[in-house]
């Protein structure tokens, strides 16, 4: 409670956000501890291929950390929930596969192409940001479905048609794994950087009350567009890496709605709007998913559903969010 009292006067803190401005009074040490934790995770991740035979589990673990963090940039920080998030993943996978298979591009060129495709798609879909709430979610989902249909309709030598593309080019899986680790740590680092700078506070204001935020001079449109571009581009790179890693893509899998919903669920479980939440949620759920999947294959979806519903009822702000709400003193250390 004491930290609420000693609020330093600042141009950034308007009265409406002062009560919940502890982000500003975040302990400097906690950011360092977090960065060291991330460095530690990266170090462990890099040494995995040396000790473990398969990297598949770890590859997907880091993919979900990246996707949940990227989704959180949009859904958690601006309150816009893109159902159609899978469109970015899909376009990235397709861009990389088409470049690699039909144009014989090396790994780096395929990835650059996928990044560009993701950014381009984000610009194309930017007009949907005028909408709010469920309107935005449903239109974004529709656009993902439209995009998938367009790819199916394209000639087979352009995008593989309905049967997809099998990538026969050589892409070293270990290198792809390292790249995925880099992308996911990059995504978390971006979220951290946004959160500890005044942008984090502006975004929180937008999420709480858009109109009020605009009145006190927050450039909501610009910030939202920036988040949209970032989150879409990261998802596209994830899609590209996954496509090259699994070396076979098809429209149903690349644009699978489960990619959107899983990213949303993992982020929400950990705590939307927090930096650590999506990481915690993604790690917990990927492990849970793996355990349930190997032990109870039939009950897998049922248990996943049960976890999701129970979390929403009992921890509506997710694990990290609920912790911060119940014990405000932790706000100096967790964010």
């Amino acid at each position: 409670m004491s930290m609420v009292m000693q609020s330093a006067p600042s141009a950034e803190t308007a009265p409406s956000v002062r009560q919940r401005a502890p982000l500003f009074r975040l302990h400097r040490a906690s950011v360092w501890i977090w960065c060291l934790t991330l460095a530690g995770i990266s170090l462990i991740a890099v040494s995995i291929p040396a000790v473990s035979a398969g990297v598949s589990f770890w590859f997907y673990l880091f993919q979900w950390i990246a996707l949940a963090s990227a989704l959180n940039l949009m859904a958690g920080m601006t309150g816009y929930v893109p159902f159609g998030f899978a469109a970015f993943f899909g376009i990235g996978a397709y861009a990389a596969a088409v470049l690699s298979q039909f144009h014989h591009a090396p790994t780096w060129a395929a990835l650059v192409g996928a990044t560009a495709a993701g950014a381009l798609l984000a610009v194309l879909f930017a007009p949907t940001l005028r909408l709010r709430g469920v309107f935005f979610s449903v239109v974004s989902l529709s656009l993902a479905i439209v995009l998938r249909s367009v790819i199916v309709l394209l000639p087979e030598d352009v995008a593989g048609g309905s049967s997809g593309i099998t990538i026969t080019g050589r892409h070293d899986p270990i290198r792809l794994y390292y790249l995925m680790v880099a992308v996911s740590m990059g995504a978390v680092a971006i979220a951290t950087a946004i959160s500890v700078t005044p942008h984090g506070l502006r975004l929180k204001a937008i999420g709480d009350d858009l109109d009020a935020a605009q009145i006190i001079g927050v450039n909501a449109k610009g910030l939202r567009l920036a988040m949209w571009m970032l989150s879409g581009t990261i998802a596209a790179v994830c899609g590209a890496l996954e496509g090259l890693y699994s070396s076979a893509i098809d429209p149903a899998a690349a644009f699978n709605i489960l990619i959107s919903t899983k990213a949303i669920i993992y982020a929400a479980l950990g705590g939307l709007g927090t930096v650590m939440g999506p990481v915690v949620g993604a790690v917990l759920m990927t492990i849970t998913d793996e355990l349930i999947w190997t032990r109870f294959p039939i009950a897998n979806l049922f248990i996943l559903g049960l976890i999701v519903s129970a979390t929403v009822l009992f921890f509506p702000r997710g694990i990290v969010g609920s912790l911060l709400q119940r014990h405000p003193r932790f706000r100096r250390w967790f964010f």
Binding site: G133, V134, V146, L301
Partner: protein
């Protein structure tokens, strides 16, 4: 070509009414309670499976499945909402919370159906007598006529309920302003509980009717129904019963006519493209009110 054209139009009308019914039950819940019921499609699907059990396994007429589906889903939804409703509506962001909660529910229902009925596609096997009617050179299956007939009774009945009874008026008032409704002394909690249960019951009936029109369904068809339902109500305007009906018609017509003129895969595309266009021009939907959103 003209007979193909008339066939497509007849199909579109039949599907349009069913899509409208799908949207109608969804829009009541979303409009009045801000609850995004992502498990709506699974409720519809549960209705289809009730029809499957009643007809294919027990050998009764699909008409007998209609009350069974309604009562079963009404009771299940009643129990679900009694447990979760209050917590969801008290959430900081009820829309988001309910979206996630019902996504969990949809996974549970889908896996429950998978456990009970396996992953194979099921269909309602029932021979109506006569099997089909011949009107103006068109062959129309009787199952389709029955489905449309029931929907034709159900839709006006729903409108009568929404526009002529006190509960219905209270429900529409909740779309406009929940707080004001509390002030005039309506028990909003009970209203929500009943509305949610009735909506689920109608979803179940819609499932029976869709099972008569669409040949086959699997435990994973639910999401398609949910998406169609949301597209239909966003197209028409959230919270507007008339909009849901209109949205259903437009979606069905665009789907059927494009399938006829261009092809199957373009048919799916057309409906969604029309949605994107409509929302770009009129963000509140065709006949939606923008006011209550703020």
């Amino acid at each position: 070509m003209t007979s193909l054209m008339t066939g497509a139009i007849v199909n579109a009308i039949a599907l349009g009414i069913l899509y409208g019914l799908l949207g109608l039950s969804l829009t009541i819940v979303y409009g009045a309670m801000r609850i995004a019921n992502l498990a709506h499609g699974e409720m519809v699907l549960a209705g289809s499976y009730v029809a499957y059990v009643v007809t294919t396994q027990l050998g009764y007429s699909p008409l007998a499945a209609i009350p069974v589906a309604f009562i079963l889903l009404f009771l299940l939804a009643f129990a679900l909402f009694a447990v979760a409703g209050r917590r969801l509506q008290a959430a900081r962001d009820p829309e988001m919370a309910s979206f996630l909660f019902f996504y969990g529910v949809s996974l549970m229902v889908a896996s429950g159906l998978l456990f009970l009925f396996d992953a194979d596609a099921r269909s309602v096997i029932f021979q109506f007598q006569p099997l089909s009617y011949r009107v103006l050179g068109l062959v129309i299956p009787k199952a389709r006529v029955v489905a449309v007939g029931v929907a034709m009774v159900l839709v006006p009945a729903l409108f009568l309920f929404l526009y002529r009874t006190t509960s219905g008026k209270a429900l529409r008032a909740a779309v406009m302003n929940r707080d004001a409704l509390r002030i005039v002394g309506v028990d909003v909690e009970r209203l929500s509980l009943v509305a949610f249960s009735v909506s689920a019951g109608i979803a179940g009936v819609t499932g029976v009717l869709l099972a008569l029109v669409f040949p086959a369904f699997t435990p994973f068809s639910g999401l398609d129904y949910t998406i169609t339902g949301f597209v239909v109500i966003v197209l028409g305007g959230l919270g507007s019963p008339l909009g849901a009906l209109l949205g259903g018609m437009i979606f069905a017509f665009s789907e059927q006519l494009t399938t006829l003129w261009i092809g199957q895969s373009a048919g799916v595309l057309a409906g969604f493209l029309i949605l994107v266009l409509v929302v770009a021009i009129r963000p509140a939907g065709l006949i939606g009110q923008a006011e209550w959103k703020s």
